[in-house]
């Protein structure tokens, strides 16, 4: 079992992190389009999407069966399945892999739910260290406005309703995501996250991102080209 930072594989792994409403998924989509157009063999992997584990997670969430411990472990299981069957083989084959959310999402959420921070880090010790981990930093108020404009209301676990912080979903979301922001801030130096100011215009953020990604790609020799 190789540990975080020990994998020596030809591919490149870029991940985006940030709270809901930070705009990270939009930025990753734009990066994806650009890399495809440039001719790279690029694959996108989403948080919480393993076909084997997804049903269990879905059921747990729908019926609100999850505690902080099982929430943490089922997400780690999902991530492990994607790592073993998807991310590692793709990187070995020389692909550019893009992940919307990565282990730092788990660290932030689980710590905000009261899980032991060291325990979670060790739990995800098998993860491949990303080539660059982008963190889209945004003030809570901006993120909340974006979400409210885009859709009606917050989901149960997303708003941290399982923690009983407040009966009001809006207030609960504010408190819970506030905790998550604090956790992210602690992780910037700990994991060397690359901070992008997510209040800047979309084009400006994308420009910054592409420059950094390009620098990492030109160093790589054996990247796969798109079929």
């Amino acid at each position: 079992m190789k540990r975080y930072g020990d994998h020596r594989i030809p591919g490149r792994l870029f991940v985006v992190e940030g709270i809901d409403g930070s705009g990270k998924s939009t930025q990753l989509m734009l990066l994806h389009q650009w890399l495809k157009a440039e001719g790279y063999g690029v694959v996108f992997s989403e948080w919480n999407s393993s076909p084997l584990v997804k049903d269990t997670t879905k059921r747990g969430k729908k019926k609100q069966l999850l505690t902080p411990a099982t929430f943490s472990l089922i997400h780690a299981t999902d991530f492990a399945d994607r790592t073993e069957r998807n991310i590692i083989p793709l990187l070995k084959a020389g692909a550019v892999v893009l992940c919307d959310r990565y282990i730092y999402t788990a660290f932030a959420r689980d710590a905000s739910r009261g899980m032991d921070a060291e325990w979670i880090r060790e739990l995800y010790g098998f993860a491949v260290k990303p080539t660059v981990a982008f963190y889209f930093r945004v003030p809570l108020e901006v993120a909340m406005k974006r979400i409210n404009d885009a859709r009606a209301g917050f989901k149960y676990y997303e708003a941290g309703m399982d923690l009983g912080l407040s009966d009001d979903p809006n207030e609960s979301f504010r408190l819970f995501q506030g905790r998550i922001l604090e956790e992210y801030d602690k992780m910037i130096p700990e994991f060397g996250l690359t901070v992008i100011d997510a209040t800047l215009p979309i084009e400006t953020q994308q420009q910054e991102m592409r420059l950094m990604v390009l620098a990492k790609l030109t160093q790589a020799k054996q990247l796969r080209v798109a079929p």
Binding site: M1, R3, S50, L52, V53, D55, T56, R59, G60, L65, L66, T67, P68, A69, T70, L73, I74, A76, T77, A80, D81, T83, E84, R85, R113, G114, M115, D116, W119, E122, L123, G125, F126
Partner: protein, 259 residues
């Protein structure tokens, strides 16, 4: 009254657990479920409420694991974490509530089986131990031990070779027999190491079930009797203040010892 192996789960208090947690460990086909059945009956006859539980029976993931295993497509890290999720779910929803209510919890396998399986599959022992550090330390761990030579006829003549119990995910080029032999030998080796590290009470699983049952009964009696004696002394025929004081002293003495 109970403590974990070092990690506390949010909202899961262990210091108010009054029941007893008794673990039966051992490899596949060693006769654990027969013993659990006998022990449950015996304990209930003695007046103890019993919860018997085992692996992959949780409401949350039990089914998911079974389905995923049918496809034989789980990676080893994924499998370990799936089992750990199942264990956490049973711990929070079954085991801890039963212990809080004063039940004797008999569990068919515990974290040690999970650890042994993961380590046989080459996972980092430090990582494997860490995952399970939230588990409460049991009051007793009985390990039904058997050699691979005695185990083989049991597999052949009772249930046949099972894909996972033969470690076919590990040695897919071998036939089931060779694979079973290799896998169970490696597993027994891991169990022997864990036995030392976690203080298992080792019981020879070769004799007939009755003999093993007697040994287990004696072991469980040792755990239950001091508590039983104390419980009896808290209901004196004529309640007296002096008697109560004595009991309080006894309890705090016990606490000091634990501390």
């Amino acid at each position: 009254m109970k403590e974990s192996y070092g990690v506390r789960l949010p909202g899961l208090e262990l210091d108010d657990l009054v029941g007893k947690l008794i673990v039966l460990e051992g490899t596949d086909g060693v006769g654990r479920s027969t013993q659990i059945r006998l022990l449950k009956e015996w304990l209930e006859q003695q007046g103890h409420a019993v919860l018997d539980t085992g692996l992959t029976r949780s409401g949350l993931v039990g089914k998911g694991i079974k389905r995923a295993k049918e496809g034989h497509t789980l990676g080893r890290i994924t499998l370990s974490l799936f089992y750990a999720t199942d264990f956490a779910d049973r711990l929070e929803n079954e085991i801890v509530p039963a212990l809080r209510a004063g039940f004797v919890v008999l569990t068919d396998r515990y974290i040690y089986s999970l650890m042994a399986r993961s380590m046989v599959r080459g996972l980092d022992p430090v990582w494997v131990r860490n995952i399970h550090r939230f588990a409460p330390k049991p009051d007793a761990i009985f390990y039904l031990r058997i050699g691979v030579e005695e185990l083989i006829p049991r597999a052949v003549f009772s249930r046949g070779f099972d894909y996972w119990e033969s470690g076919m995910d590990l040695y897919s080029t071998e036939d089931m027999y060779d694979s079973f032999r290799k896998y169970q030998t490696a597993l027994l080796d891991q169990f022997d190491r864990l036995a030392e590290e976690f203080n298992f009470e080792v019981i020879d699983a070769r004799p007939e079930p009755r003999v093993i049952f007697e040994q287990l009964k004696a072991g469980i009696d040792r755990i239950l009797s001091p508590a039983a004696a104390r419980a009896a002394s808290t209901v004196p025929a004529v309640p007296s203040e002096a008697g109560e004081e004595m009991i309080i002293e006894e309890v705090s003495e016990e606490r000091r010892k634990r501390a």
